[in-house]
């Protein structure tokens, strides 16, 4: 119990990293997802192929493999490029940036499918009607398409968030001091890994419960009438 009081705050300190990482990578994933959906829905065959390659790659390669590849491989690649072009000197990618971009990249692919599905659910007649009364693509995207994409994408979007939140645990493997890393270290120091790992277990459970509660409210606000 004493050890829990002594090392508990350290585990809780990881909460800040986890939440910050989850939110920033959610933002990146949303951007990637919108871009990916635009690619996959594009009229150009080449762009559609790029979009499909992206989602196939992420579906095929496990998240941790991609993360290790980007964290260790990306660093060398960027520095080799810098040396080759002479544009920049030695760059060090910190685990937070690597984790954030990897998670953003991976969940961007899932978001791509989310947004694409939501777009395809809009009846084609609506867009034709918008065009026939002379709306420009920009106008009908903003006024007709977007307001309908949000409620349709929301259920999958929230699901992606819940999965993303749990996947942030992987950054502990590349040395980022998140909940899992801190719990593991506290467990090693105190020789009581079970207690501290259970603490991290319940923190994630509470985070899921809170997310569930708010997302359900959000779902009611945006429900299709």
């Amino acid at each position: 119990m004493d050890q829990l009081i002594e090392f508990g705050p350290m585990v809780l300190g990881g909460l800040k990293v986890t939440i910050l990482l989850a939110l920033t990578s959610l933002f990146i994933a949303t951007c990637f997802g919108l871009a990916g959906a635009a690619l996959k829905l594009s009229r150009s065959r080449v762009l559609r192929m790029v979009g499909s390659a992206y989602t196939t790659l992420v579906r095929g390669i496990p998240d941790l493999v991609l993360m290790l590849l980007i964290f260790f491989g990306g660093q060398i690649l960027i520095n080799d490029l810098g040396k080759l072009t002479g544009l920049w000197r030695y760059v060090e990618i910190d685990p937070f940036t690597a984790g954030m971009f990897t998670l953003g990249f991976i969940f961007g692919a899932y978001m791509t499918e989310t947004f694409r599905g939501a777009f395809l659910a809009i009846p084609a007649g609506q867009i034709e009607a918008a065009q026939s009364i002379g709306m420009s693509p920009r106008t009908y995207l903003v006024r007709i398409v977007w307001p309908q994409i949000v409620p349709r994408a929301l259920p999958t979007f929230t699901n992606n968030w819940l999965v993303l939140l749990k996947t942030t645990a992987l950054v502990s493997i590349i040395g980022l001091h998140d909940i899992v890393y801190n719990a593991y270290q506290a467990g090693r120091t105190t020789q009581e890994p079970f207690i501290f790992l259970m603490v991290s277990f319940f923190i994630y459970l509470v985070l899921t419960l809170i997310s569930d509660f708010f997302l359900r409210k959000l779902g009611r606000v945006y429900a299709l009438k």
Partner: protein
Amino acid sequence: MDLALIYDNWELFARGLQNTIILVSCSLLFGGVLAVPLAMVQAYNVPVLGKLALGYSYVFRGTPLLVQLFIIYYGLAQFETVRNSIFWPVLREPFYCALIGFSLNGAAYASEIFRGALLDVGKGYWEAAMACGMSWAAAFRRIILPIALRKSIPAYSNEVIFVLHGSVLASTITVVDILGAGRQLNGTYYVTYEGFITAAALYMAIVFTLSLVFRALEFKFLRFM
């Protein structure tokens, strides 16, 4: 990329591939077997048991697999009683710990899929079976369960890929699976790309094969719909 290095170590990757395949197929088997009763008690609102199964699947789906794995492998070893019990020969081995973790986690996800499928079986099937004089147990075993399992195939194919992706976490508790082999290669020869890219390629190949297999299965078993 040093292809000769990868070729020279093909035995390492073959061992990794073998471990991944055994790990994934055994945890799918155990998880699937455990998931059926979990889904049944939820779908048919069995008092107490139904709520317990719901809690089980919420807790396992609401926390990261990595944390669950760490609790089983590092956490349980903390207790003297566990180390002296008859389970110790099993819980001492990282491979079996990974197998237990993946099975318990997979059961939670699979039970969600099966529950939905069980509820999706039309009332008419029950009535027809009863009208033929089948008992509840006979109707369930011979009519309802086969239909529900067939209907689960599309969603279950995603779950299989999810388990494969999750299985890379075994490498974090020193199991030499495909990723473990890649990390070992990188560690031994001080290289970065070779191990990870080979692992990524192998995972891609497995996912591609699985997609083909499931497309064939859907064609064979869902033709009646």
